[in-house]
Symmetry: C2
Subunit: 341 residues, 2 copies
Amino acid sequence: MNRFMKLAFTEARKGKDTWKNPQVGAVIVKNQQVLSSGHHETYGRNHAEINALKHLSDISQAEGATLYVTLEPCSHFGKTPPCVQRIVEVGIKKVVIAETDPNPIVSGNGIKYLEDHGVQVENLQQKNDLNVAYRFFHQHKRPLVTIKYAMTLDGKVNQTKGVRSMITNQEVFSDTQELRRQSQVILVGENTFKVDDPKLTVREKEKFPPIRAVVIRDVNSVDLKMQIFQTNEPIYFFSQEKSQRELPENVQVFVDEWTPTKIVQKLTELGMQSLLVEGGSHIQADFLKEKLCDRLIVYLANKVFGQGLPAINGPVANLKFSKPEILLLADNLKITTWRLD
Amino acid sequence: MNRFMKLAFTEARKGKDTWKNPQVGAVIVKNQQVLSSGHHETYGRNHAEINALKHLSDISQAEGATLYVTLEPCSHFGKTPPCVQRIVEVGIKKVVIAETDPNPIVSGNGIKYLEDHGVQVENLQQKNDLNVAYRFFHQHKRPLVTIKYAMTLDGKVNQTKGVRSMITNQEVFSDTQELRRQSQVILVGENTFKVDDPKLTVREKEKFPPIRAVVIRDVNSVDLKMQIFQTNEPIYFFSQEKSQRELPENVQVFVDEWTPTKIVQKLTELGMQSLLVEGGSHIQADFLKEKLCDRLIVYLANKVFGQGLPAINGPVANLKFSKPEILLLADNLKITTWRLD
């Protein structure tokens, strides 16, 4: 990879609170010298290009310089003014991008604006592992759905029905925290919700914490003393019944005869780019049956239960998955596989 | 590792038909020059040391030479005369061994005989991965028990009850063939036997093929047209009832109220060093319940069945397993873990 673009990618990864925005990095170069760099830090704030320009010791340095940026610069007024306008204004001569923006509001328009204003654009069309959910969302017009569970070497997720079993180790716990952090919505089914009484939070306080979603027959059956109500990250209930009670401010109830397809449609309307289905085994089967599983993550504990609840419990569609990626987490295993068709 | 001993290990691995005997390699060295090498080729034939001596251009070369051998030379009359006697006879000055022989008939006696006859002995006490079952058998006085199954990413071994599902790929098939080849006994339960109608053979014809064992309530319920009877490798039936029929010559029926413990005792009496329990999920649970699982091998296919028979089906003992070893077999996974306690 071009060394300046490599640097731009390193910058991009620094953006931790970009939420629905992509992680983007930018580097300004003149005479093969890096003059400045920047990244998109936080949703709603300056884009990477603007930050790189701000980090120049003098804005006049931009005149005739080349801008390396990991994503096509934006051409629209969103939370901030369009970057392309500023790029032209300060006299950047050439823009090298790693890929076009999959967001249809931008896609190609940024490049066109720059070229129309005499800026040379080079598109490296470089595959990269940034912004997986952002890219998926704009390409498929729905959130990336990840199904995740932990099971034993004999495929059990629980030793005794109705009791939560601790299956995996501390390293898996940390990894699932990171997985939650990267998800805009975390969803569980009614049984998992009532048996596990989960918080569904991430340990580190986030600016844009994942929304905690629960699929439930009747929201009125929920005990308001449950752990999920002890913190104020947003909560969605997908319920068949309207709430008869006043609920805390952070709770929203959506009422319908919910199916995975309908839930995903609703989340699409709400602009959610990523959904993590954490359990249990019935709702995960329901998602798999409706072919709503783009990524499957299985944590494998080196234990054998013999009896207990199986991972995935119900008829599923016949899906093909990619060659698995393996990560050894101490004596546990993380298996990641992507749906192929 | 000492380079001559390394060579001896390379030699040892060439022995493919050693069966109940260990794989052993030997190298004869003088003035830092390798004069000859040899390995134990076939159960009942010459040991490695004798082969190495035979490969000298002249037996007088052995006078004053050093012998590197991966296992303590034997001191007893078995299928062949004791190696130590021949070593002394030809004038070997020094013997370097990688480990003492765990077989109590030899263990330490080979070394003692050599030293008593003026041969210097150096024991490197080198851990190695040869002769795992042989070592286990002599240390624990019973065969090494391996439980092996193939399952989907959601822990199912079968999609529809009573019908055999092909779960894994060609690479796994080859790997399980090798696993069978390394086992002295392959065992299945009644249900697997009747549903799968397996041959339980290895593809390449072997001098000492694995014995095919079936646990069954009543041996008289077996259809003699089944595939297992189409080849003449030995067959053991562990049955509660005596056979009322004349059975083929290669079939032996053992009658008792069989449990895994009793089966393992019987195999120990028969001198069997390794047992591969291939299925199904009930008999594997029975073995796990009686703590008769030293090694667990799970092949993981990148499929999701949702419903079907779970891997391991019944109460098991609470066993601890080692950090798993992982092997990627195309888009399938091989997970090997050892019992810790």
